[in-house]
Amino acid sequence: MVLAIALVLLVVGSVLFHYLSPWYFTPIASNWGHIDDTVTLTFWVTGFVFVVVNLFMAWCVMRYRHGKVKAAHYEPENKKLEGWLIGLTTMGVAAMLAPGLVAWAKFLDVPKDAAVFEVVGRQWYFNYRFPGADGVLGTVDARFITDTNPFGINPDDPKGKDDILIASPELHLPMGKPVKAELRSIDVLHDFTVPQFRAKMNMVPGLVTYVWYTPTRAGTYDVFCEQLCGIAHYAMRGKVIVEEESAFNAWLGSYPTFAQTLAQVAGDAAAGEPLYAVCGACHGAQAEGNPALNAPKLSGQGDWYLKRQLLHFKSGARGTHEKDVFGKMMAPMAATLADDTAINNVVAYIKTLPDKPAPATVKGNAKNGHDSFENCGACHGADGRGIQAMNAPRLKGMSDWYLITQLNNFKHGIRGAHKKDIYGPQMASMAAMLTDDRVTADLVAYINTIQ
């Protein structure tokens, strides 16, 4: 009796939950209404079976419970009944399958006028590439990948020269136009998922896969990686902004072509030396850092990283949060560097300065920190040397007190939360694992022990 009631309640509760709960598909933002329709149809068919079979079972449990009946009925089988049930089930299955296959055929049939772009998946971020003026993407190979050619574009292929490289996880798409995303990975399996678009596909190293859609609703949508890709899988995020074509074109125009990225000139250290005088006031003449002035060590840090941070300070992506006391002090300093050339030069000068490990000031249990560092090493290198390809700066031998400040800033949304800071959110997600100050101190203590 109790069991029968429980079964009925579960059936009713499940149906109510389906209709009343706030959790369901997000409003669709692409042409894949077919998928949603198939889901709805599947819900009706399966829901019917769920309710009918379970209620029948509940009724049986109540009606034929021991004590209520004298004896069980003897009937080895009933071919007719079983035949009917098989027939009905087959019909129900066919009713779901047929529209499903039709929808799948559409899924595979890319419209001829679909504009092609490329998504590059890598641990642990997305980049994008548009074909440029000639409308054709240049050939690529993982073998061509270097720090200066992170997309692995074939340098001998003229079609690749005008490709527009979006070295950012943020993608813009024009509204109402079919687009075909060619998906590629340079390391492990990834997946390019925009929940509101419904369609998704894995990205496989060594293969180019594809998926197509027509974005139909303007807005900002999250991009997830939905194929386990390593430690920072959950932090592999991007954004898609669907907008009017004019805005899209303006956005696309703001990114360099492959040829332009190759043409970047190296900074001039001699020209950077006088510029550094301003920096040296706080960071020290040898860029060794000065805890008293809250100025971290700079020497030995990757030039690409210093450049990016200076640009961030200049653009307001960093040093504008009200609680970022020291960042706010740095921002006007960075503003004294007039342009990219000045930044390149000063960074080039810093690169010439001697790199002596900063003195250890943080106390903690390095042994405990070792375990947490497993997660840091995935990007920053097992020895904390920093890896440009992972956008991960050097940690070892740098100012440890500064690491603590920045980890806390990331954790509390003081750093990395700005809209323009495209790499910050990832570090913010990672820093969130540091549950308290002791864990952070242990971690930094471990970094101090790395040789």
Binding site: V61, V69, M96, L228, I231, N375
Partner: protein
């Protein structure tokens, strides 16, 4: 090479199969440690599997803590989280469920239910367990090696499984792969036994169509496993070579952490094909024994023959056959040739038909039955409900366009936990409550059993039913933390907290079950030989628990199928399989009991009377 050479060359017709010479141990160690008795081996398998399953249960609790209350527990970092996810999945699927259903229940029930003295190759059977135990220990050892166990997800997809950036990519993954290879070798030894015992060691009169469905399920699952595990074996070897020797079976040219690696041209999709060629039958390796066992539990407790026995057998055969043709439905979004989708969606949905038929027949067995709501029956009905839910969500994921938005989300997690975690586990519990009296001679405590059922059944539903909706929402699986998103509402986190609380409660209540196992061993009500008044042969043994050799001096002869319940005109509402014809009818009760019958006279077919045996 796992066969044992016998020296008898002349063929012996099955009716006169000589009794195998059993190895009779004298010492305690011979009896309970290096035992060749399938029943002891079954208990060894079961205890090991349950012990390692408890480890996996704790791991799942830790995962739920992280999902429900992110960033509270400092020891759960992204890498340890993935390690727990991976180990939880692999242990539960392979080392608990496969080992328990086939090594545990298979070993205990096959000889008893088909009327055999023991497995046909007892020595190989013993080695099978020790190899399994070694595989378990290897796996557990990976918790203690540098870098810890692998965190590649239980699917172990390359390239990431063996690349830096995945936890345990050096030691952990190798231990996992080697452990799997040993598991498969051990399983193959056991599996040969199960198949050959069912084929060759059935007692007189036990035709294939008189086998209880439990045996059919275990038999078919073993065949699936024997044919499917080689795929995992091959891929484990190939991945080990990729990791250790730098071959490029699965590894394409790639750049890891800014470094060009020496791999070239390998195909990650190839691994997925091999893995799922094993992985999908694996679902049925777990499900078919559960289907079989639950059929018997329902029939016994509804005091009614299983409805449509023949259809049930054919459904098992059809599911077994089809299960090798559906593997790529796990790969709709993998980047394989997308045109495969048409074929695999069709085969996948076809497999729903025999599966649905099984569900109908379980429910139709209840219909017009005489339902005793014993603890095993509660679990059986709980199974049907859970399985209906999990099976139906399978129709979502099997249908290719519906799978597209849902794959990789919590919907998948909810679906497969419903269908191949909770459902089989409910059957495992039901089966343990059902057969514990035969194993120990004592009943499990009923009150604890009912409490265990209600919390487990309702609790697991509370965990997994809402989880589907997180999947619809777009919450990805295998995420350490959701972090900031544009669209996932705060309430999703509240739901995650609720799920975690439910999961912790369900997890904790399993302690009651374990306690019950111990408590009842000493204090349980004595059960007698046949407490459920069941027909199958294991309940007709002269001793409970059965001695080595199972059936006293002579093997029983079988006269009927396993489902003669409530036969009109019978004095009792069940007729044991070894009850001779006519004897059960009214007025014939004074004939000798079936277990006292001697061997059949070879010319007349009439049992010879036994002398000197009580």
């Amino acid at each position: 090479m796992t066969y044992v050479a016998h020296d008898e060359s002349a063929f012996v017709p099955p009716f006169e199969v000589e009794e195998p010479e059993l190895y009779h141990p004298k010492t305690f160690i011979g009896k309970y440690i290096w035992s060749q008795d399938a029943k002891v081996i079954a208990v060894q398998y079961s205890i090991t599997a349950i012990a390692v399953g408890l480890v996996a249960l704790v791991l799942s609790g830790i995962m739920r803590l992280q999902l429900g209350f992110p960033h509270v527990f400092s020891f759960i970092t992204p890498s340890t989280y993935l390690q727990y996810v991976t180990m939880h999945g692999m242990i539960m699927v392979i080392y608990l469920l496969t080992a328990l259903f086939l090594g545990g229940f298979g070993n205990y029930l096959i000889p008893l239910m088909v009327g055999a003295r023991d497995m046909v190759f007892p020595y190989v059977n013993m080695v099978s367990y020790w190899v399994y135990l070694f595989a378990v220990l290897l796996l557990m050892a990976s918790f203690f090696v540098p870098g810890g166990p692998t965190g590649a997800g239980w699917t172990l997809y390359p390239p990431q499984a063996i690349l830096d950036g995945t936890p345990g990519a050096s030691w952990g993954i190798i231990l996992m792969l080697v452990s799997l290879a040993f598991f498969i070798i051990g399983f193959t030894m056991g599996g040969l036994n199960y198949v050959v015992t069912v084929l060759q060691a059935r007692t007189r009169g036990m035709t294939m169509m008189r086998l209880p469905l439990t045996i059919w399920g275990i038999f078919m699952a073993t065949i699936l496993a024997l044919l499917a595990f080689p795929a995992l074996f091959v891929s484990a070897i190939m991945m080990t070579l990729d990791q250790a020797l730098g071959t490029s079976f699965f590894m394409p040219a790639l750049v890891s952490k800014g470094q060009q690696l020496a791999y070239n041209g390998g195909s990650p999709i190839l691994f997925q094909h091999l893995f799922w060629f094993f992985g999908h039958p694996e679902v049925y390796i777990v499900a078919l024994p559960a289907f079989g066992i639950v059929s018997d539990l329902i029939s016994v407790n509804a005091r009614k023959n299983i409805f449509g026995y023949r259809m049930m057998v054919w459904a098992i055969l059809a599911i077994g056959g089809l299960s090798f043709m559906v593997w790529a439905h796990h790969m709709y979004v993998s980047g394989m040739n997308p045109y495969f989708g048409f074929f695999f969606a069709t085969t996948t949905l076809i497999i729903a038909v025999p599966t649905a038929l099984k569900v109908y027949n379980w429910v139709l067995t209840l219909w017009r039955g005489d339902i005793h709501l014993t603890v095993p029956m509660l679990f059986a009905i709980g199974f049907i409900f859970t399985f209906i839910n999990g099976g139906l969500t399978g129709l979502f994921l099997g249908n290719v366009p519906v799978d597209i938005p849902l794959s990789g989300t919590m919907f998948v997690v909810a679906h497969f936990h419903m269908v191949m975690a909770v459902s089989p586990i409910l059957v495992v519990f039901g089966a343990i409550y059902h057969w514990y009296p035969k194993v120990t001679g004592r009943m499990l405590n009923d009150t604890m059993g009912k409490f265990h059922f209600w919390v487990t059944f309702l609790g697991t539903y509370a965990i997994y039913y809402p989880m589907h909706y997180l999947g619809f929402l777009g919450v990805p699986r295998r995420y350490y933390a959701m972090g900031n998103t544009v669209f996932i509402p705060e309430s999703a986190q509240t739901l995650n907290e609720a799920i975690t609380i439910a999961a912790l409660i369900v997890g904790a209540v399993q302690v009651v079950f374990i306690y019950n196992l111990f408590w009842s061993y000493f204090n349980g009500k004595p059960s007698g030989p046949n407490p459920w008044r069941a027909t199958t042969l294991e309940w007709q043994t002269p001793e409970t628990p059965p001695k080595h050799g199972n059936f006293g001096p002579t093997l029983p002869a079988v006269y009927r199928w396993a489902y003669d319940y409530s036969v009109p005109g019978a004095t009792e509402d069940f007729i044991p399989q070894n009850q001779p014809p006519g004897k059960w009818a009214k007025g014939l009760e004074d004939k000798p009991d079936a277990s006292e019958l001697g061997p059949l006279d070879s010319t007349s077919g009439i049992p010879k009377p036994l002398t000197g045996h009580s």
